[in-house]
Symmetry: C2
Subunit: 139 residues, 2 copies
DNA sequence: TTTGTAATGTTATAATATAACAATTCTACT
DNA sequence: AGTAGAATTGTTATATTATAACATTACAAA
């Protein structure tokens, strides 16, 4: 099997691509919708031996820190991001009907918000936008 | 004491301005920072008789539905909003140092996001943006 | 003044997340 | 190879956030 982008990323950065990390990322990547931490846990049974919440949360934190996973705060759920280079921002369109999520990849904070940040000399570390409603299929 | 904006809003709309609702809103309004539901609960002791979580969550839901309270998802905490007319969106700048929060009142979804919504014919009900970092005092 | 609806009270529990410390594994260095 | 130090994981327990379910009360309109 080919080396995944995430594994390669770890190799290059001198980070450890461990079994819990690999397994957790894999479950999130395979999920077609945002997945909760305890659902990740439930799906790890095959691959890890009786995993516990901290195992999942640590791996999630690790991947979030490197931009491979985002949290959708309004759902308490996680999604994989193809981009392994962490943007400061994440943006999602969430259908409250079918649960489908689309990630938007904006490279910059929108003008109106950026203006505020600059004005107040705020040192931004991260930002997120979450848009809820119904997708065209559900409405 | 003068009739509050929220009470007036309820009178005009034929909504009940009940004691739990009034008390919960008051606590959130008086808080200078986002306040968690259980902290609201703790501060209600004087005014309500042994309140329980559902009491708080119901009142919060009520006020959120009418735009008097917003939830900051990334903090699991709530803030009061002066505007009693619900915009679809809320935007916050959150200092991770001192916990201060500034609400930004954008009337419209930023262009780049709006474009996506329109393209995909998404029926938006609400949106939020949350910006984290350090305010000028904390950095 | 009844009658239906909305709101609240109450009990219990679900769902999400982290603290604390022990055990293990990996890496770098000798 | 052997070992010290650091990072990671294992494990137990518990904290935090939120809601389900049903009983009771208060209100508004006929």
């Amino acid at each position: 099997m080919a080396v995944s982008q995430a594994e390669q990323f770890c190799n290059e950065k001198g980070l450890r691509y461990t079994e819990p990390r690999a397994a957790v990322l894999s479950v999130i990547q395979k999920s077609k919708k945002p997945i909760g931490a305890y659902d990740v846990l439930a799906q790890l049974g095959d691959r890890l031996d009786n995993p516990k919440p901290p195992t999942i949360y640590r791996a999630i934190e690790f991947w979030m820190g490197h931009g491979f996973v985002h949290k959708i705060e309004s759902l308490n759920a996680f999604v994989a991001c193809e981009a392994g280079h962490a943007h400061k921002g994440s943006q999602f369109i969430v259908c409250d009907g079918c649960g489908a999520v689309e990630e938007i990849h904006l490279c910059h904070l929108p003008e109106a918000l950026d203006k505020k940040i600059t004005e107040s000399q705020f040192d931004m570390t991260r930002w997120s936008a979450e848009i809820h409603g119904l997708c065209v299929k559900c409405s």
